[in-house]
Symmetry: C2
Subunit: 524 residues, 2 copies
Amino acid sequence: MTNPVSRREFMNLLGATFGTGALIRVGSALGMLPAVAALTRPVLAAPAPGAGTAVILGAGISGLTAAWELAKAGYDVTVLESSNRAGGRVMTLRSGDVVDEIGNRQVCEWDNEPHMYFNAGAARIPSTHRNLLSYCKELGVDLEVFINESKTALIQDDAMLDGKPIRNAEVSTNVRGFLGELFAKSFTTAQLDQPFTESEAETIMGLIRQFGSLDREMNYKGSNRAGYVSGGFIDHGVQKEIIEFKHLMKSRLISQTLSANEGETGPLLMQPVGGMDRIIAGFTRALGDRVKYKTPVMSVMVKEAGVEVAYLQDGVPQTITADYCFNCIPAHFMAGIEHNLPGDYMQAMKYIRRGEAIKGAFQARERFWEKEEIYGGISWTSAPIRQLWYPSHGIHKEKGVILAAYDFGNGGEFTRLSQAERVEWLLKGGEKLHSNYRQMVEKPITIAWHRMNHMLGCSARWGRSGGGMTMEEEGLYHTLQAPALGRHYMIGDQISFHGAWQESAILSAHWALADMDQRVRSAA
Amino acid sequence: MTNPVSRREFMNLLGATFGTGALIRVGSALGMLPAVAALTRPVLAAPAPGAGTAVILGAGISGLTAAWELAKAGYDVTVLESSNRAGGRVMTLRSGDVVDEIGNRQVCEWDNEPHMYFNAGAARIPSTHRNLLSYCKELGVDLEVFINESKTALIQDDAMLDGKPIRNAEVSTNVRGFLGELFAKSFTTAQLDQPFTESEAETIMGLIRQFGSLDREMNYKGSNRAGYVSGGFIDHGVQKEIIEFKHLMKSRLISQTLSANEGETGPLLMQPVGGMDRIIAGFTRALGDRVKYKTPVMSVMVKEAGVEVAYLQDGVPQTITADYCFNCIPAHFMAGIEHNLPGDYMQAMKYIRRGEAIKGAFQARERFWEKEEIYGGISWTSAPIRQLWYPSHGIHKEKGVILAAYDFGNGGEFTRLSQAERVEWLLKGGEKLHSNYRQMVEKPITIAWHRMNHMLGCSARWGRSGGGMTMEEEGLYHTLQAPALGRHYMIGDQISFHGAWQESAILSAHWALADMDQRVRSAA
C-alpha cells in the first residue's frame, strides 16, 4: 500500500464524509427508520346524514385501508382500480402470474406450490409497524419470521481476496477482532477527557474484548465465532485462520456486517405465510364488490356538493359522485387526469420523486444454499445485482424461489438491457456468490418498477438523500398533507417522509381519515 | 463515581480477566461453538453373517441415530428405553404431559392447541448443524425459523436506570455510540504500530462511524437506530434521548447486545414446526416396534460372543444378546447397573460432570409481548430467571407459551424451593421485565434437569469452563471414545466436547458406527 497517512491527516479524515456510510444507508434498507409507529387506527364517527359516500382512487394498501375503515364506519365506499389486481407495489408472483412491465411482459412459469412465490415489491414487515400488523391480525393474515441477516450467508467483492465469497461470520469476526484490538491498543496513549473508575474501565475493556472476541491480553488471534475448519464436536476444533484486515478493507461491503441489523431491518422482521399479497387478499375479501377493477379514472372534479369522478368500465364512461375522495394514484399520473385541484396542490404533486428499484428472481431447481448451511438471509456482492435473498420459508423443500437482484440505484441502466441481457446480468452476478448458480436456477423474472404498468416508479421520496428537507420542500409536503377543497385527500407512501413501507401508506390513510372525521364531527 | 483509574492502571486492566466475558459465554449459549459440522453420515456395510444384531441402550437422540442407521444397513436392532417416552432431554411439553421430576411431578394444563408447546430441553437448531438437519429432511420434520435476538426485546438490570427495562435497540445503539466515539477520539494520540494508507484510514473511520452511528465529526449524538419517541412516518420523528454510558455500564448485561448473535447462536436458528420432539417422533416412526419403552437395563455384560443385556419388561426380567451395544444411558447411572466394563472405562464415566440447568414456562393468557412490538427473541434480566423467551411461532394467536426462566448456573438453589416458591420466583423475575406479567401468565411448569427421572442431570461437560482440558481429562475422554472390549460403545452428547447440542449426540453415534463399520469391514 502506498500513500501512508500521517497521524494528523488521519485525524483530519474524521471530519470528512466517506462513501461507506452512505452506501450502507442505501444497502441495508431504504433509509434509516423510525422504530415504532404509534397505533393510529382512527375510530370514525358514523357518516353525517346525506354525506355517507366515499370514492377511493387506487387499490394500493393506503386506498384499501381507507376503504376498509370507512366501510366499517358505515360509509358507502367504492374503490376504483385501473389495473386488474389490487395491491400496487404489494405484489406477489406465482405460477401463471403476469409481470405487466411495459415493453417486457413476462409470465411466471414456476412450479405451482404454496412456497414457490416471490414478493416483487414489499417483502418485509418490521415488528414495529404496528398498524400493518394490526390489520394482519384483524384480516386473518398468518405471519411467520423473515430472516434478513444470516451469519452463514456470503460477502463477495471482486476487490477483496480475489473475489472469493466469504461467510458473513468470517468477515464480521475478523473485522471486529481487528477493530477491537486497535481500539484497545489506542487506549494505551489516549488522552481521554475524563478518568474512568476502575469498575468503568473494567466494563469498557470487557465490552471491547467481547466485541472483538479478543484474548486476555486484548489481542485478536482469531475466534471460533468465525467457524472451525473442522471438528469441535467430538474432537478438538481446528480454528479457521485469521483473514487480515488489509484484505477485508478492500471491500466497501464489510461494514454491512457491522450494521445489517441496525435501523429499520433491526427489529424482528416478518412476512405473511404464502406471500405479501395475502394482506391485500385480506382487505379485498373484507371489501367484497366495493373494489372495481379495470376502472381507470378519467377526471376528478371537486365540487361544492361532493367529488365527481369519471372513469371507464368495460370501456364505457361512468361517473360517480361521493362526499369524500381518497386518492392513492401515483402523483405523477395526476397530470394526465382531468381535474380541478388547486395549482399549489398540483405543483406539490409534481415535486415528488420516485425511485427506480429493480428486482430479479429465479426458480431454483434445488435449494443449493441449504447445502452451504444457508437458511434465509442475504448474501452481498460487489456485482450490480447487489444481493441474493434466500427464502426464509419452505425449508428443505425440493425447490425454492431466490431473489436474484435488488437494487434501487441503477434501475435506468438495467432497463436499457433486453430481457435476455438482464438474465445474463443476473446469472453473472449470482455466479460470483455461488459457482454453480447458472446450473441451479431457471425461469427468470425481472421487475423494473419504473416501467411497471399503472405504476411507472417505485417508492416516493421527499427531501434529499440523508433525510433533510428544505423549507420549500416542507411547504410542498404540507400542501399535500391536507385535503384539497375540503374533500379530496392524497394518500399513500407518497404522502410520507418514509416511502417504500406499507406502514407509511397506512399511516397516510389514517391521517386523512382522522382529518375527515374531525370535519364530520365538527359539522355535526 | 469514585476511585478514578490512571492511564497506567487502566492499561493494566487489559491483561486482567473480567467477569463480563465469562458471564456472556454462559449467557449467550452453552459455550462458544464450532460453526459447521461436517456431514458425517456413515455408510455402513451390510452386517457380517451371524453378526447382525445390535442393542441400543437409551432412546435419546444418539441412541435413535445409531438404531436408525443400523436398521437401514440391515441390522436387527432393539432399543431399550427405561422411561415411557423417547428423546431424553429432547422433550416437548403439551396439554396433558407429565413432568416427571422426582419429588415435583407436574401435569401440563395448557390449552390443547398445536402452537401451545414448550421445548423443555433442546430448543434451537443452528443452520450449521448439518447432520441433525439432514435427519430432519430425511424424516420429514418441517422446520421454521427460531428467533434468538430481537432488537425490541428488553434488557433489565436492577443496577441500571433504577431497574427500568430498556429495549435491546436502545442499549446497543447507545453502547455502540459511546464506544465508537471513544474509539475515534482515542485515535487522536494513538501511537499506532504502522501507518495506514489514506484509503485504509477512510475505511477504518467509515467502519467506526457505521458501528457507532456517529455524525460527520465522529460524535455520537443519538441515533434513530434506537427508535423514535414519536413520528417519523408522516411527520418528522422525535429522536429518543441518549442514554448515557455511565448509566448503561452499571449492568453486566449490556455486552449481550454486542455479542448475542456471535458464536453458536450466530447462524440462523431453526425449530421444528410443532415442537422439538417432532424429530424424536420422526425417528420412532421410522424405527417402529424396535423401540421398547419401560425396559430399564439391569446389567450389561460384554462377552466373547456378544453383549448380553438384562432388562425388565412389565417387571419381568428379560435378556437380549447382540453383537454390538450402543449405550447412551447417562454415564452416572452406569455405576448402578451391573456390568463387566473395564475399570479405566468406568473411571472415565465417573469423571463426566453434568449441568444443573433449569427452565420455567407459563401459558400466557394473551400474547402481551406482541403489544410491545416483541415478536420472538429473548429479554434479559439481572433477576435469577435470567431470560424470557417469546415464541417465534403462533404470531397473533390468542395465547402462547413463554419461557419464564432458563439458567444453567443455580439449579441447586432453585431445587431447594417448593413448586409454589419456584412459581413466585418466576413471577418476580418476569415482573421486572413486564409490569403486568403476573396478570398475564398462568399454569406454570418448572423443570430441573438434575432432578428429572431417568436423567438426573443436564448436559455433560468435559474440561474446565473456558474450554481447556488437562492431559488427564484428554485421556479419560479418549478412553470412552473407543469401544469397550470391542463391542460396547458409549454415545451421546456425553461423549463430545460440546455438550447440550443434539448435533454432538448425533456425531458421537456416527463416530461409533463408523468405528464399528471399520471393524466389520476389516473382519470381512
